[in-house]
Symmetry: C2
């Protein structure tokens, strides 16, 4: 069954190949919404997902979304021959996963291939991540998934070893450690081609922070030559096509608010293998309000990462770090870039120094330049000697930034200070509320927006003392963030209860 229809380009883009048929033509072809059709012109053919309408296009026409218009290079009125195409077999494999059965390597490959080729609809991909979430995957399925996600994209090949990286699974605000850890490790002569993401739901991703200091959108070739020159890079992973299935799947998971364990493992590992990493440190922040709330949960995840690494020939170590409150004091791209530079210059906050040097220490031992047990001390020495700062200058320069930039040169927004409403002890800082306020202030889009915490957990505070400062580039955002602070205060101050507990003799 073939129907010749006249192209009608539509001003719509979705990242997938979609066409719209009039219901009469669709019926004629036996096609329904979310079916697939082969489109052929004298010049090209492609498979697109079909939508149906009674109004948008007339019978005899075919509405082409921007991706299809471009791929087929059609103009209004050009004839496109439309043939129904059977559903891809990967839908049967998704259904098999729904049924709780284990998929073979080939079945997993087919799903990944169809995701990357744009052959699966949004609903079908949702069914896949839902099935992953409900049924989970065995380690051998995750290995196949990871492998194919790597194969489906580009690769960074440095032809040396070890190639190190550190990846934090996130969930804790102010987590700018990488801007300190990476230069320490690179200063010791190790290779660290760090790719990272922009903020999705947080106030600042590593790429957003680094972008305050230098360019982060580089090609694979540029990344390679920078790493060969200075030993490290801090690049935005989104600018290169490493494991592209991952980016598509994230877009499906996010609206549902699910992050299936098996997909998390495959996503992290595929991005890193595609970037040529063979020694990977995974940082799992744990604590109330972090992505992983308990130490036990963090340990399970750590073991999964190490097993998966073992099966894929990547040496993986894991660190469980404290994620119950922000790392350091600054939250938001420019404020975090300032804090990271201050730390490299020897004036950083304790929690950030501790986290950055601990992780760097593990990497130094892992990479064979520090003796077992001596990594942390070596990391502190490199940081204190100014060598890490020098390395960061090199990295910034190589990425087209100004190596001479001083923390105080970095523009930040106008600020407003939030005061303690009464006396007491700070018993909790709510990660999610902190992030919400920073975002209300304009982060991550407005680089100078965010907040700076003045007092952290456990501190005694008197009424009227400053608790934190909110920064915003625009008046309206500042007042939005202040209003949100009033509605949902991020810092909990308790007086009577905590004091009683503190002074009470231990029972038993």
């Amino acid at each position: 069954m073939i129907l010749d229809l006249k192209a009608r380009p539509l001003d719509m883009e979705t990242g997938r190949n979609i066409v719209v048929l009039h219901e009469d033509d669709a019926k004629e072809l036996g096609l329904y919404a979310s079916d697939r059709a082969k489109l052929a012109t004298p010049k090209a053919t492609l498979v697109a997902i079909t939508d149906t309408t009674t109004r948008m296009v007339r019978s005899g026409e075919i509405g082409t979304f921007a991706e299809v218009t471009k791929a087929l290079d059609v103009n209004a009125g050009d004839v496109i021959s439309v043939t129904p195409v059977p559903r891809p077999q990967s839908i049967d494999f998704i259904k098999k996963k729904m049924d709780g059965q284990q998929l073979t390597d080939k079945e997993v490959y087919a799903i990944v291939d169809d995701i990357v080729a744009g052959n699966l609809s949004y609903g079908e991909m949702t069914a896949f991540v839902t099935a992953q979430y409900v049924r989970d995957m065995t380690m051998s399925e995750i290995v196949a998934l990871t492998r194919r996600m790597v194969e489906s994209g580009d690769r960074l090949e440095l032809e040396v070893s070890p190639v190190l990286d550190v990846h934090s699974i996130g969930g804790v605000p102010g987590n700018k450690y990488a801007l300190v850890t990476v230069p320490i490790v690179a200063a010791a002569g190790l290779i660290v081609p760090k790719t990272s993401s922009r903020a999705i739901t947080s106030a600042a991703g590593t790429a957003d922070i680094m972008e305050v200091l230098a360019n982060v959108s580089m090609s694979i070739g540029e990344i390679k030559s920078i790493v060969q020159k200075v030993g490290a890079v801090l690049a935005w992973g989104g600018a290169v096509r490493l494991a592209p299935a991952d980016d598509i799947i994230i877009g499906v998971e996010r609206p549902l608010g699910i992050d299936p364990r098996c997909q998390l493992l495959a996503s992290v590992m595929s991005k890193k293998i595609a970037a040529g990493i063979d020694h990977l440190l995974i940082d799992i922040p744990a604590g109330p309000g972090a992505k992983v709330e308990t130490i036990e949960g963090a340990r399970d995840l750590a073991h999964d990462f190490m097993n998966l690494g073992h099966m894929l020939n990547v040496r993986v170590e894991t660190a469980i770090t404290y994620g119950g409150q922000p790392v350091g004091y600054a939250v938001g791209p420019a404020l975090e870039a300032r804090e990271a530079l201050e730390t490299l210059l020897g004036k950083g906050p304790g929690s950030l120094i501790e986290k950055a040097t601990s992780l760097a220490g593990i990497m130094l031992e892992f990479g064979g330049v520090a003796s077992p047990g001596m990594g942390r001390q070596m990391a502190c020495d490199i940081l204190n000697s100014g060598k890490a700062y020098q390395k960061m200058r090199e990295i910034i320069g190589a990425q087209g930034g100004n190596p001479d930039v001083k923390p105080e040169d970095i523009p930040i927004g106008k600020s407003e200070t939030v005061l303690a409403p009464y006396d007491g002890y700070i018993t909790n800082i709510d990660n999610q509320r902190i992030v919400a306020i920073a975002r209300a202030a304009g982060a991550p889009r407005d680089k100078g927006a965010g907040l700076k915490i003045i007092l952290k957990k456990g501190h005694k505070v008197n009424k009227g003392e400053p608790l934190f400062e909110i920064y915003a580039e625009r008046e309206k955002k500042l007042s939005d963030a202040l209003a949100l602070t009033k509605r949902r205060p991020p810092i909990k101050i308790e007086s009577m209860l905590l004091e009683k507990l503190t002074h009470r003799p231990l029972a038993g």
Copy 2:
């Protein structure tokens, strides 16, 4: 956070409220694809699902799909105030179902309400049916689901009892029994307001067949007055808003090829309760190639239907019928309408007479007009007396058709006969291949298209004898259907093997 954007109506319709924001504005609002935003104009407000783009609309503009343009009554350039809206809570309940937990009535209600209001994206609804498929639902969840699906639409209220209906869960071609069963039952004085669907994946739904004889698109008021006049109707359910959630959910299930048991139960029952039915006969065709393949599977489903009916105050009986090959000989709207009329005129095929009178018999006993065990005989008497035909004439007339129509008056397509390629016994007729050929010939859209089987299972056939005829309204369709027949022959003829088996003495 509010942004005032200029409306840019887009020529797109999807049945849901969708707007497209430029990525910069979306970022500013903290919105991603598939999030939700409140749209406000001086005249109206509504909640829409947001999509993002870098090209379709400029920053400062908001692309409005047809549904939104209409609901807000905006023109290009009108200002719409956009505020992010938290995800509906029903997504948490969908996630709870994914986690395998039982939902409360209120949680089920929230999901149904959000589906009907258009508050859930296609992906979120897919996650729901996937969770239903994987986790199933308890009877009390199904009761809540059915109840809310009924409440979310219009209702047909006849203020009499019993009100009967018969519903076949489908999957067998040529299933035109309702056009015989309904007039038999109505001729006995019972009330049968039958609503039915058009073909989705089959060659002819009851509504498609009846449409050959009369109008089937009627309002609830029209259905009511026809039933009050002649005791029965054969209407298309899609023209009225009975349990509209069902239609939306079907659109989500179909592309995935899943039909979760719990949703099937709720769908059928909600449509029937909304139509005022209090005595429902469920026909479950069972056999290879039917929706339910085994008798055991059919029995389980039958019990589920009866339990659900019990909890919703609907008396349910079930009949398991033979679904291993087509019912009667004709497949396709006009051919089936002819065969149904012929049957009412006393010249029908045995399998159709048997099925139609068996089901009618159960309904006659069920409705209290036949003594237990006597229904089938009464049904045959009514059919043979011509009273069922007279009732069908009344129904056709009431629905605006020509009551005097003769089977041979009904226009059908041009035909081509398919011959037996060799001698043997017909050991199988493949339901799915039969449907595929009828659809290739143009059914259900071309009413005169389809096929007519000449010899059914068990018959001996000689090479060159006619097996079946294909009918089509268009040359091209006829040759398409013949080509498909060659590629995938629907009728299996076996010689040696079956004869051997037949003549072999029983072992043991």
